[in-house]
């Protein structure tokens, strides 16, 4: 049997991830198709995981009965299969796979706005020259479409492309769009629990975590929402993305809300940069308004909703828009009393009069087993009001919503998060505006910064 390089190239794998029989694997080793790497390596007395580079407390001892010794294993990347000190990782050193050259891979025939086109050209150029680029595009600028031109160009040259994004929801949302845009290209989606795990597509859509599976695999690496990563996750992301890139590789970073680090790099001109301040439908970003609610914290603690929220719901300009209601914690969402929820019923009925009010209101959070279904039901307008934690702050789009944030001054809502949340409103050309309200009991700096950032982007857009 032939051993297909596409299955293994560009990866570091555990033996159990290599579906070859023992004799066949032995033969592959003899032919030097794989190089062995220690699962846990030591450098200057410090131990590191050879897959994710974790060290310190991430590595814990196991009394291993395979080798009958106590040695370290990595807890940090254990979701992808345990890396142990007594095991090897295998890196493909056989022949390089040939990726198909596509003459005209792109079937998308939509039109870009002038500003999208500027960004698309810049991305295309960076991909051709294996350069870095930061594309700053406001929420709703249509960044996925801006990527198609550059990706097309890469596929014409038989290159391998990866788009990594922090959230599995986004990977799932992107897959059908990419299938439609590139119908003859092998595309795979990788995320925790994805049906496909082999990672042998020419175009890979993956959660950032899944990058750890790859080693010198890609000619083009696009990292979506680089600001979504909390500071402590940064080094792991850098390690993973550096490892997944070929030596010559284009890196495209996408963000709607650059953090300090990126802003500094832009100012110092150390990172080439393109800015799309206008949404694709040409309307400005909704600017959040603030409503102070005295006794807000007390009310929430008691499991009830502030009056201000109900008043706002009453007075909304368009009472048929669905409502995204953000709460700072899951515990708070769970502790809301029945009569607090039933106070929302009349407003839910106005949004969607057919269903019973109870089924029109739903709560969703990160560990929610039905999260995917609920998000889909909200998109289908089967749910009128959805109470959510920050998990719906970015990536997912709904055509026509108003957004309310309860206790907007809470620590979990940082500037980038608030800008993202506000960016959920007014996404569709059919309903390009929307209301965004911060309910608070004393403003936070993050709230002020978020409003300023949005106003700044709108000013930039007007100058165009």
């Amino acid at each position: 049997m032939e051993i297909e390089p596409k299955h293994f190239s560009g990866k570091r794998l555990l033996r159990r991830e290599i579906p070859l029989s023992s004799p066949l694997f032995k033969q592959a080793l003899q032919q030097q198709c794989f190089k062995k790497i220690l699962g846990i390596r030591k450098e200057k007395g410090q131990a590191y995981c050879s897959r994710c580079n974790a060290s310190g407390a991430h590595l814990q001892p196991i009394a291993c009965q395979k080798c009958e010794q106590t040695h370290l294993y990595c807890r940090n990347c254990i979701q992808m299969g345990r890396v142990s000190a007594c095991e090897q990782l295998y890196e493909w050193t056989g022949p390089e796979p040939e990726w198909p050259v596509h003459a005209a891979p792109c079937a998308w025939d939509g039109e870009l706005t002038v500003h999208q086109q500027v960004a698309a050209d810049a991305i295309d150029r960076a991909i051709q020259r294996n350069e870095k680029l930061l594309a700053h595009a406001v929420c709703g600028a249509g960044k996925t479409e801006m990527l198609f031109q550059g990706i097309t160009c890469a596929l014409r040259q038989g290159k391998r492309v990866c788009l990594a994004t922090p959230r599995a929801d986004v990977v799932r949302e992107l897959l059908p769009r990419f299938h439609e845009a590139f119908p003859n290209v092998t595309i795979q989606a990788l995320y925790g629990g994805s049906p496909d795990k082999t990672g042998e597509g020419q175009l890979i859509l993956a959660t950032t975590h899944q990058l750890l599976r790859f080693y010198r695999a890609f000619d083009v690496l696009i990292i979506d929402e680089i600001d979504a990563f909390p500071y402590h996750a940064d080094s792991m992301l850098h390690f993973a993305s550096d490892k997944a890139k070929k030596t010559a590789c284009a890196s495209i970073f996408l963000t709607a809300t650059p953090r300090k680090k990126e802003k500094r790099a832009i100012k110092a001109k150390t990172l080439p940069y393109v800015f799309v301040p206008l949404r694709f439908h040409g309307n400005p970003l909704p600017v959040p308004s603030s409503k102070i609610c005295f006794g807000l914290h007390k009310k929430l603690k008691q499991g009830s909703l502030p009056k201000g929220l109900l008043t706002w719901l009453q007075k909304r300009k368009n009472p048929t828009r669905q409502v995204l209601l953000f709460l700072p914690t899951v515990a708070l969402a769970d502790s809301l009393k029945k009569d607090a929820i039933s106070a929302l019923h009349p407003f839910a009925k106005k949004i969607h009069s057919k269903n019973t009010a109870e089924t029109l209101i739903s709560t969703v959070h990160a560990a929610d087993k039905e999260r995917e279904e609920k998000v889909q039901a909200f998109r289908n307008r089967e749910i009128a009001i959805i109470l959510t934690t920050t998990i719906l702050e970015r990536g997912v789009t709904f055509p026509s919503v108003d957004v309310a944030i309860l206790d907007a001054a809470h620590d979990v809502f940082d500037e980038a998060g608030l800008v993202q949340i506000a960016g959920r409103a007014g996404r569709s050309p059919a309903d390009p505006t929307g209301e965004v309200v911060f309910f608070h009991e004393g403003r936070s700096t993050a709230m002020d910064q978020a409003v300023q950032a949005i106003q700044y982007m709108n000013r930039q857009a007007r100058k165009l």
Partner: protein, 225 residues
């Protein structure tokens, strides 16, 4: 470590009230995770701790009229079953996250000592098949047996078969006994496993020991499923 070793969230810097009462309790976890283990506070069925009334439960009555009559004296467990512990144990034993077992050390030892303080008892972990052991590298039952403080002996072997959890209950009862004897059976035995679900696995193991000279056999398990 300042982060919870299970959920990764930062642990509160303040000592939590529960650590004042049980200083040994689950300190590598955050308060939210630590308090999510469903501690069994009632005895329930006096012979298996099933949480349905305080009489001998119908499952146990049925066992005592079967071929497995009197092979297992009783079972004691620490926790009942919920989604949290299900996921936690899955991460521990199927993902092979060995360190997660450590949080049970103190409480499991106390459970064992409370019921089996007699020095004559030996701890016998329910074994994995060789194939399973090759896959996982450790046996969670043996990790628990280490915690008991009793002398641990491995006198049982296990044939490799399909994954048990995929079989129906009835199928499990009828299935061939996968266990075989490796050495001499101790006279007083406490079988150690992570979960007592139908009791079939433990009775299979107990039967092999009973037929080979064991006099008293009980079970000490982490979870009463």
């Amino acid at each position: 470590m300042n982060n919870c070793m299970y959920c990764g969230e930062p642990k509160s810097a303040r000592p939590m009230w529960s650590t004042l009462f049980w200083p040994e309790r689950l300190t590598s976890l955050c308060e939210s995770c630590a308090s999510s283990f469903p501690l069994l506070t009632n005895q329930g069925c006096p012979s298996c701790m099933k949480q349905a009334g305080s009489d001998i439960c119908s499952d146990c009555l049925q066992w005592e009229t079967s071929d497995y009559q009197a092979v297992l004296d009783k079972n004691v467990s620490l926790y009942s079953y919920n989604y949290f512990i299900r996921d936690y144990v899955a991460q521990w034993k199927y993902r092979g996250d060995y360190a997660l077992g450590k949080v049970f050390e103190q409480a499991f030892r106390q459970l064992f000592q409370r019921h089996f303080s007699n020095q004559q008892y030996f701890a016998v972990p329910i074994p994995l098949s060789d194939e399973r052991m090759q896959e996982r590298g450790f046996n969670q039952a043996a990790e628990l047996a280490d915690f008991t403080g009793a002398t641990q002996i491995e006198v049982l072997g296990r044939k490799h078969g399909e994954k048990q959890s995929k079989r129906s209950k009835r199928h499990r009862m009828r299935a061939d006994n996968p266990f075989y004897l490796l050495g001499e059976s101790p006279r007083y035995t406490v079988l150690i496993d992570d979960i007592y679900t139908t009791g079939a696995t433990l009775r299979h193991a107990a039967q092999v020991l009973k037929e080979n000279g064991a006099q008293k056999i009980a079970a000490c398990t982490l979870i009463r499923g």
